[in-house]
Amino acid sequence: MTMTTNKAPSRLDRFRDSFVWYSFKRDRTAQLCLAVFLCLVVAAFSAPLLAPTDPYDLRQIDIMASELPPFWIDGADEQYSLGTDAQGRDLWSIILYGTRVSLLIGFGAVILQALLGVTFGLMAGYLGGRVDAFLMRLADIQLSFSTLMVAIVVGAVVKATLGGAFYSQYAVLMLVLIIGLAEWPQYARTVRASVLAEKGKEYVDAARVMGLRSKRIMFRHVLPNTLSPIFVISTVQIANAIISEAALSFLGLGMPETHPSLGSLIKAGFDYIQSGSWWITLIPGAVLVVLVLSINLLGDWLRDVMNPRLYKG
């Protein structure tokens, strides 16, 4: 608390001095998870560079080379390190591309959820009264529809009006929309709760006494102070969105097999487990588990670090 120098520390200094960095330096799990997660993200987004074949290019697919096993099993082809799927696509390439699709949908959906949820939560919490009652009832209603139901309804409506081809073409966007719409109430509730806590603090009164408008108080004063819980729930929500996408794709409501995500890969391979080609489904499945697990563990660590009751500073 005492200041020996008058020079204010830079942002980097502040970060180095922060509890987040301190705890990260000591937490092996968090370090490992972040490393795994970053590897997956980098690999997925540089898929066109890393993948030996382009699974979206039909000319590169050899149907004769279908259901080849991965390299450690007899009968493997050196060309396909992780084997091939039922259509003869290189599994390694298609997992890279599939992870990219899954991550895109996960991040996209969470951004949409956050936009909707934070705005509504902020308004409900700060303005209170009828706005609060209306938005929170809306959230309750939204929560009583499962993601699955929203997906079925949206899917049905879009397919009926614009055709199945349109749906497949814009499947990524559709899934972002569906998962984003279905799960914004999580954000809205978290944000509302912390806005209510912040609203009672005197700095908000001070801003009101100053004569600032509600909009400025909400976004300039209250919102920055609710960022920690938003950050924490975002990690959990990304994991959830990826799982939701996988579940929807597995049920055939998600990505088409021509542009597979991890979920549709699992689904596609599922039919071949009986015939012994287990790798088509289990390898993408393992990738999905590792991805979601690393995000969830990071989220747990973040929640512990940012819990104000554990750390008072």
């Binding site: 608390m1 005492t2 020996t4 509890f19 301190y22």
Partner: protein
């Protein structure tokens, strides 16, 4: 031998910035039935001192040195089991927030009976009778009714009375009260303090009162310690310290009270603020705020900056200050030369 004897107590907290010395070299004694005040501002270490008496310091804090002897038994090396026999039974505590002691889901009667049965072999019926008697002693209106009430049904002042009743339940030898009235209004505070004082006198119970309020200390206690930045800087009979404080910090604290200045005039403030314990100044921790580090000839007294002052005796008081030591030395030399 004194009832409670604390010598050279040293409590540290292992924090990520390194080890912080919360209190250092704290020594005092408490006789049977004596009322002692520990005064200081936030961060002075007065609560840490109180908590460490019953070994209630929790991680990352620990007692790094010194001893706490109660009736000849050393408390800081005692097993948890042995301590439980003393806590609440021989030495009880009153906290600032009554809800720290009261369990919200048990009625007042249940909590008191439970407490009695934990320490004594006693039937529920007798325990209830004792509880009722203690509630009467703290002058709670309709005590029979209160036994079946829950803490949330009572007002703040009433809860603090209940806490005092619980503290007295097992006829302890010492009550440690940590800011017992800070959360209460002045009229209620005055009543609670008067009650505590009466009860301690009646039952010959020793009281260690931790507070930042010099007015309360001067009315309730017989001896007091003034703490600053983890050390005791002055101790002695309360009246003597209040009327004629020796240490510049104690003087500053008393002079800063609004009642010590003419209304409308500037108050006598102490400049600066208490240093953080992780970044203490060298020498006397008070020296950056002290007006007396310069000698009469205008030179800064080097000892203030270089050396932690030890206690010197003035009257019945002990003060840890180089300036006071120097004054005493001058006086002694003058007397010798005459």
């Amino acid at each position: 031998m004194a009832l409670l004897e604390v010598s050279q107590l040293d409590v540290r907290f292992a924090l990520r910035q390194g080890e912080v010395k919360a209190i250092r070299d704290v020594s005092f004694t408490l006789e049977r039935g004596e009322r002692l005040g520990i005064v200081g501002e936030s961060g002075a270490g007065k609560s840490v001192a109180a908590f460490s008496l019953l070994n209630l310091i929790s991680k990352p804090g620990f007692i790094a040195g010194g001893s706490i002897r109660f009736e000849g038994q050393t408390l800081n090396t005692m097993s948890e089991r042995g301590l439980r026999k003393i806590r609440g039974n021989r030495i009880s505590m009153i906290f600032q927030d009554p809800m720290m002691t009261l369990n919200p889901v048990l009625s007042i009667g249940e909590q008191m009976v439970e407490c009695l049965k934990a320490h004594r072999r006693i039937s529920s019926r007798d325990a209830r009778a004792i509880a009722l008697d203690k509630l009467r002693q703290v002058q709670i209106p309709s005590p029979e009714k209160r036994l079946d009430q829950y803490p949330h049904e009572l007002s703040g002042g009433m809860r603090q009375r209940i806490i005092i009743a619980i503290a007295l339940l097992l006829d302890p030898d010492i009550i440690i009260a940590d800011e017992p009235t800070t959360a209460l209004d002045v009229t209620i505070q005055a009543e609670i303090m008067a009650l505590l004082l009466d009860l301690c006198e009646q039952h010959n119970v020793g009281l260690i009162l931790i507070t930042h309020d010099l007015g309360v200390v001067s009315q309730v206690t017989q001896r007091m310690l003034v703490m600053y930045a983890g050390r005791v800087i002055e101790q002695g009979p309360t009246r003597e310290i209040i009327n004629d404080p020796q240490h510049p910090y104690t003087q500053g604290l008393i002079n800063a009270l609004p009642q010590m200045a003419t209304p409308g005039e500037k108050l006598n403030q102490i400049r600066g603020s208490m240093p953080s314990l992780s970044n203490l100044p060298s020498g006397c921790a008070f020296h950056p705020r002290c007006d007396f580090i310069k000698r009469a000839d205008g030179q800064t007294r080097p000892a203030c900056v270089e050396q932690v002052p030890g206690f010197v005796q003035t009257g019945n008081c002990l003060a840890a200050c180089h300036m006071v030591a120097e004054l005493l030395e001058d006086r002694r030399l003058k007397e010798e030369s005459q």
